[in-house]
C-alpha cells in the first residue's frame, strides 16, 4: 500500500490549517454548549403511548396482537400456528417457555447462513421501541439474536413489552448510557419505492413483521 501514514498526516494537517479547533481538553465543554431545544421527553400517557406504537406498526403493515404476561407462551404458539410455518429460528437466550411445542426450532448457536436461509421464521425479543416512529430497536443481545437471524427468514415475530416502549427517539438514546456495539432499528418491513415511488413491501429483509405487545404495566390492560 502506498505510504498510508503519509496521506493520514497530510489530510489531518490540511484540516488543522483550515480550522480553529478548540484545544482537546475543551472539546467536551464546547460540545456541551450546543443548542438542544428539541423535544426530548414525550407527553403521552402510558396508554396513549402504547396505542400510538401499535397504530404506527399497523401503518407499516405489521401484524400486532396484545396479551397479558401470563398469556405470552400461548399467544406465541397461536401466532406460530396461524403463520402456517414450521421451521423457526430462536436466539440462544430466548426463554424456554417461548419455544412453543410442535414446531421445528433451530436454536442459533452459530448456525450457518445456509441453515438460517432454510428456516421459515424467527422469534426474538427487542431492546426497546419508539412509538413516535414505530421503530423496534434491536441491540442483538442473547434474546434478540445475531443480526443475520432477523434478516434472512421471511417472517419475524418480535415480542415487545409495554414497559419497553418509549415515546420519542431521544428517550431511547437516553436509555443508552452505554452505547451498543451493534444495533438495528426496524421501522416496518423491508420496502422500496425505487420504481415510480410505488411502495413495495419485502425486497430483501423479512416481508412479514408480527409483534406481540405484552402488557406488563400495572396500569394497563382491559383484556386481562
Amino acid at each position: 500500500m502506498n505510504a498510508p501514514t503519509q496521506s493520514r498526516q497530510q489530510i489531518l494537517d490540511r484540516i488543522r490549517a483550515n480550522t480553529r479547533s478548540v484545544a482537546a481538553e475543551h472539546l467536551e465543554s464546547a460540545y456541551a454548549t450546543l443548542p438542544r431545544t428539541y423535544v426530548r421527553t414525550g407527553s403521552l400517557s402510558a396508554e396513549a403511548r402504547l396505542a400510538l406504537m401499535i397504530e404506527r406498526l399497523r401503518e407499516y403493515d405489521a401484524e400486532v396482537v396484545e396479551c397479558a404476561p401470563q398469556d405470552l407462551p400461548s399467544t406465541i404458539a397461536a401466532q406460530l400456528q396461524s403463520s402456517g410455518k414450521r421451521i423457526f429460528i430462536a436466539p440462544a437466550g430466548l426463554p424456554a417457555s417461548w419455544l412453543a411445542l410442535g414446531f421445528d426450532w433451530r436454536i442459533d448457536r452459530d448456525l450457518s447462513s445456509a441453515e438460517i436461509e432454510l428456516a421459515e421464521g424467527v422469534v426474538t425479543a427487542a431492546f426497546c421501541a419508539v412509538a413516535d416512529s414505530g421503530t423496534i430497536v434491536l441491540h442483538h443481545s442473547a434474546t434478540e439474536g445475531r443480526r443475520v437471524i432477523t434478516l434472512l427468514p421471511d417472517w419475524h415475530l418480535c415480542i415487545l413489552y409495554a414497559s419497553q416502549v418509549v415515546e420519542t427517539l431521544p428517550e431511547y438514546f437516553s436509555r443508552c448510557q452505554n452505547p451498543p456495539m451493534l444495533a438495528t432499528y426496524i421501522s416496518g418491513p423491508s420496502a422500496t419505492a425505487d420504481i415510480e415511488m410505488t411502495r413495495i413491501k419485502g425486497v430483501h429483509g423479512p416481508r412479514f413483521l408480527h409483534v406481540i405487545v405484552v402488557h406488563d404495566h400495572a396500569d394497563q390492560p382491559k383484556n386481562q
Partner: protein
C-alpha cells in the same frame, strides 16, 4: 459526454465533472425529453408531499434543524480531533482505518484489499462516495465484478445508466423502462411491468449473490467518534445483507461524515428520513462497531476519504457545504432540478447541493456553470435539515467564477465583461455618468416607438428585447428634475 484519453482510463461513461458539458448545454437534451421530465416531476411531487406532511406534524422541526446545524458545524470546526477519536475507537474495536487523499488513492487501497482477499466479485450497498470516485468501472477494469444491490442501483447498473438523484438514483426511469432492462439483462422474457414483479425479479437475482459473495463495499451515513461506530440508513434490507453475510466489509466514508457522540443520532435520524423519503423513520438503520465476534464480517476496513473536502473547510461560507447529510431535500424542492433532472449537473451530486459541492470538490477548476444553475429562490435553504444556506454559497461561488473569468485573456473582449468594465468606468465618475445618460438618451430615441416602449434592439441588446419589451427612457433624469426643481421654487416648500 466527451472522453479525454489523458484522463483516468475508464471506459464506462461517468458523471465526471472534468469532462461534462456545461450545464446550459447539458440540459438541452433533457428539456426535449418529455418522458424523462414527467418521470422526474412525478417522483419529486410524491416525495415532496410526503415530506411536507411529516415535517408539519413535527412541532420541534426548527429546533431539530438548529441542533442538526450546530452539531455538524461543531464537527467541522473540530474535524481533526473527532477523526482521530473515531480512528482510535474503531481500531480498538477491531476495524482497520485507512486514509485516502484522493480518488486514485482510495481506489488503489480498495483494490489492494480485494487482492488480499482474492476477491473476484463484490456486493455493494448504494454509496454516492463510490460513484464520486468512479469505483465500479475501475474495479471492473481490474477484473473485479461489482454487483450493486440497491434496487435503483441495479436498474442503473444493468441499464448502463447513471444516477440522477442521490436518494432515489433511478427516479428518471419508469416502470416500462425498468421492465425492458430487467427482461433483457436477466433473461426474463415474460416479466410484467408491475413494480411488485420487478422488485421480486431483483430479489431473486440477488439472493444467491448475498449468500455466496464474501466481500462487500458500503458507504456510511454517519461515523460516531465516541464509539467508533458506523451507521448505514436504508429501506430494502440489501444493506443489512451486505453488512451481515460477507466475511469482509469495506466502507468508504468522506471525512466529514463524523458525529461527536452516539446520542447525536437522535437528531440526525429524526431529520434524515423525513427529509429524504418522507418517512418518520427509514425501514432499516444499522449500527456496527469494528468487528463483533460471531456476528457479521470478521474483517472490517474503513477508508476515510478527503478528495477535496479538507480544502473546503478554509472559509466559513463554503464550509457549511460539508454539513450536508445527503438527504436530497434540496433537489426535491428545487424548481430547476424539477425541470432538468440530475444528469445535466454532470456530477454524481446533482441539484442545489451538487451545484455548490461539485465545483468546490473540483477546486473551482471545473463545473463553473453549476453555481448559475439556480434561480436563488431559497427553497433549498428552507428545507435543508442542517440549515445549509445554499443561496449564500451559490453567490460566493459565482463571485469566484467571475473573478476567475475576468482575468483570463480570452474573456477580455467578452461583451459581458467589456460592458461591465465600461459600466465600472461610468459609475465611478459623475460627469461621465451624466454624459453617458445624455448621449444614451439621444441614441435610444431611434429605437423607441410612439407608445413609449422599445420593442427591438440591435446586436446583444436584442437578447433582451427578444422576449420582453423595454420602457423608453424618460425625457429627464431624476437628477435633472431635482436640479430644475431647486431653480423654480414652487412656493410650497417648508
Amino acid at each position: 459526454m466527451s472522453h479525454d484519453p489523458n484522463g483516468p482510463v475508464l471506459a464506462h461513461p461517468v458523471l465526471d465533472p472534468r469532462y461534462a458539458e456545461p450545464f446550459p448545454k447539458a440540459v438541452l437534451p433533457v428539456l426535449r425529453n418529455p418522458q424523462l421530465r414527467k418521470n422526474v416531476a412525478h417522483a419529486i411531487d410524491v416525495i415532496q408531499a410526503k415530506r411536507g406532511k411529516l415535517v408539519q406534524e413535527k412541532s420541534d422541526w426548527q429546533a431539530l434543524r438548529s441542533a442538526g446545524a450546530a452539531i455538524r458545524s461543531h464537527v467541522l470546526e473540530n474535524l481533526a480531533p473527532y477523526l482521530e477519536i473515531f480512528e482510535a475507537r474503531c481500531t480498538a474495536a477491531g476495524g482497520i482505518v485507512h486514509w485516502a487523499a484522493d480518488a486514485a488513492e482510495v481506489r488503489q487501497i480498495i483494490l489492494d484489499i480485494l487482492r488480499q482477499e482474492q476477491a473476484t466479485e463484490v456486493i455493494k450497498i448504494k454509496t454516492m462516495t463510490s460513484a464520486e470516485i468512479q469505483l465500479n468501472p475501475f474495479l471492473e477494469a481490474a477484473g473485479v465484478r461489482t454487483y450493486e444491490t440497491d434496487l435503483a442501483e441495479i436498474i442503473l447498473q444493468l441499464g448502463q445508466d447513471e444516477p440522477s438523484h442521490i436518494v432515489v438514483p433511478a427516479l428518471h426511469v419508469n416502470r416500462s423502462q425498468v421492465r425492458e432492462i430487467f427482461a433483457r439483462t436477466m433473461g426474463l422474457k415474460d416479466l410484467s411491468d408491475d413494480p411488485h414483479a420487478l422488485t421480486a425479479a431483483a430479489r431473486t437475482y440477488l439472493r444467491q449473490k448475498f449468500l455466496s459473495i464474501p466481500t462487500a463495499i458500503s458507504g456510511a451515513n454517519f461515523l460516531v467518534a465516541e464509539t467508533g461506530s458506523v451507521v448505514v440508513v436504508e429501506s430494502e434490507g440489501n444493506g443489512r445483507m451486505c453488512l451481515t453475510l460477507p466475511r469482509t466489509m469495506i466502507t468508504i466514508a468522506g471525512i466529514e461524515k463524523v458525529l461527536p457522540s452516539f446520542q447525536d443520532l437522535e437528531v440526525m435520524l429524526q431529520v434524515l428520513a423525513r427529509s429524504a423519503t418522507g418517512e418518520r423513520m427509514n425501514p432499516y438503520t444499522s449500527v456496527w462497531t469494528g468487528v463483533t465476534p460471531g456476528d457479521g464480517p470478521q474483517r472490517f476496513h474503513i477508508v476515510l476519504l478527503d478528495n477535496g473536502r479538507s480544502r473546503m473547510l478554509a472559509k466559513e461560507t463554503e464550509r457549511q457545504t460539508l454539513r450536508c447529510i445527503r438527504c436530497a431535500a434540496c433537489m426535491n424542492a428545487c424548481p430547476v432540478y424539477r425541470q432538468t433532472g440530475g444528469h445535466a449537473y454532470g456530477s454524481v451530486y446533482p441539484g442545489p447541493i451538487g451545484a455548490i459541492l461539485t465545483p468546490q470538490l473540483m477546486q473551482m477548476h471545473h463545473a463553473q456553470t453549476l453555481p448559475y444553475a439556480s434561480s436563488l429562490c431559497g427553497a433549498c435553504y428552507e428545507v435543508c435539515p442542517v440549515k445549509i444556506n445554499i443561496p449564500e454559497v451559490l453567490l460566493e461561488l459565482r463571485s469566484q467564477v467571475v473573478n476567475q473569468e475576468r482575468h483570463t485573456a480570452g474573456r477580455f473582449f467578452d461583451p459581458m465583461y467589456l460592458g461591465l468594465r465600461v459600466a465600472n468606468l461610468l459609475f465611478s465618475r459623475a460627469w461621465l455618468f451624466h454624459a453617458a445618460q445624455y448621449f444614451g438618451r439621444i441614441g435610444i430615441r431611434f429605437f423607441t416607438r410612439k407608445d413609449g416602449w422599445i420593442h427591438s434592439l440591435p446586436s446583444i441588446g436584442g437578447k433582451w428585447t427578444q422576449t420582453r419589451d423595454l420602457r423608453g427612457f424618460p425625457r429627464q433624469t431624476f437628477h435633472e428634475w431635482w436640479a430644475e426643481r431647486d431653480l423654480k421654487p414652487t412656493g410650497e416648500a417648508k
